[in-house]
């Protein structure tokens, strides 16, 4: 049980690091940046769930991965429209 926990935590941590690096290095497209920074929060909420903290996991999933990601998309949409119109 504890071995599975350790391996899953390591896997999640490695995936979070990769997603974090992607959100910094993917300069080509901003949607990929936003999605991968949302992915960091989503993976973190899975890790909170593994650590038996469902309340924190729900907050992280609702705010970090849900609300923030879509707020960034919303603002990105507004900014793009602004540059196109002048």
């Amino acid at each position: 049980m504890s071995h599975i926990f350790t391996y899953m935590s390591l896997l999640l941590g490695a995936a979070m690091i990769v997603a974090g690096l992607m959100s910094v290095w993917a300069k080509r497209s901003l949607p990929i940046v936003i999605l991968s920074s949302g992915l960091v929060s989503l993976l973190a909420s899975i890790q909170f769930l593994l650590l038996a903290a469902p309340d924190v996991a729900m907050t992280e999933a609702a705010i970090g991965s849900g609300l923030t990601t879509f707020l960034f998309f919303f603002v990105l949409n507004r900014v793009r429209r602004g540059t196109h119109h002048g």
Binding site: S2, T6, S9, L10, G13, A14, I17, G20, L21, V24, W25, P54, D55, A57, M58, T59, A62, I63, G66, L67, F70, L71, F73, F74, V75, R78, R81, G82, H85
Partner: protein
């Protein structure tokens, strides 16, 4: 290029720190002193099945009041900063129409998301979740509405009325705790009821519901302020 290298170093360093923490992590075989107090006394003291909710609303209720105040200040400052650039309501903005998929999906999903948010904060004392999570889910429904129809006008007066009424009721229930029970935000002003039922745990579900409404209204007012800002 140098800054990217430093970002890589920073992320790798944080990863190494957490890997070291994980390598040294040994789960406790028994609860420590504070945790044991909460595990043994929460049901007797508050009647809440979710110990986290009991701690957040009752034992550490003052901290929750502080958190809600911080969120309120944030929403107020966002509104203040963006107030100068808001468009006057008379002229409609020219915006491209949202896609059919988004509009239809929003029509289907918004009531369901609102229902989930209300479920999460009404059942906060029984299941994981509570006011903050439920409020954020409510606000994400508002965000979906805004994405589907960017020119939709939301009533600022309604949002601020919900926000301030919930805040006043939250503090008012806390004050009633001083008069009728052991202290500020004591939940025993209402009967504790049977463990695990919806109407149990005294004032916790009532307080959590109003926290949920307040948090949802605060997030929504931030989103609506952002959406109504004109491009400079």
């Amino acid at each position: 290029m140098v800054s990217r290298f430093f970002v890589f170093l920073l992320i790798a360093g944080v990863g190494a720190i957490f890997a070291a923490l994980l390598a040294g992590y040994v789960p406790d075989h028994e609860l420590n002193l504070t945790a044991r107090y909460y595990a043994e006394n929460t049901v007797r003291d508050t009647g809440a099945a979710n110990i986290v909710a009991a701690i957040v609303v009752t034992y550490r209720g003052l901290d929750t009041l502080g958190e809600v105040t911080v969120l309120f200040l944030t929403a107020a400052i966002v509104g203040l900063v963006l107030a100068g650039s808001q468009h006057q309501g008379t002229h409609r903005r020219e915006v491209p129409v949202s896609g059919e998929l988004l509009v239809t999906g929003a029509r289907l999903l918004v009531p369901l998301i609102l229902l989930l948010g209300v479920y999460v904060f009404v059942n906060g004392h029984l299941t994981p979740g509570g006011g903050f999570q439920g409020g954020a889910i409510l606000a994400s429904a508002i965000l979906l509405l805004l994405l589907a129809d960017p020119v939709r006008e939301f009533s600022h007066r309604l949002i601020s009325a919900i926000e301030s009424t919930s805040g006043l009721i939250f503090v008012g229930i806390g004050g009633l705790g001083i008069l009728y029970a052991g202290g500020f935000l004591d939940n025993r002003i209402l009967p504790l009821g049977t463990l695990g039922e919806l109407f149990s745990a005294g004032a916790i579900p009532v307080i959590y519901s109003f926290i949920g409404l307040k948090v949802g209204a605060e997030f929504s007012s931030m989103l609506v302020d952002l959406s109504e800002t004109e491009e400079p």
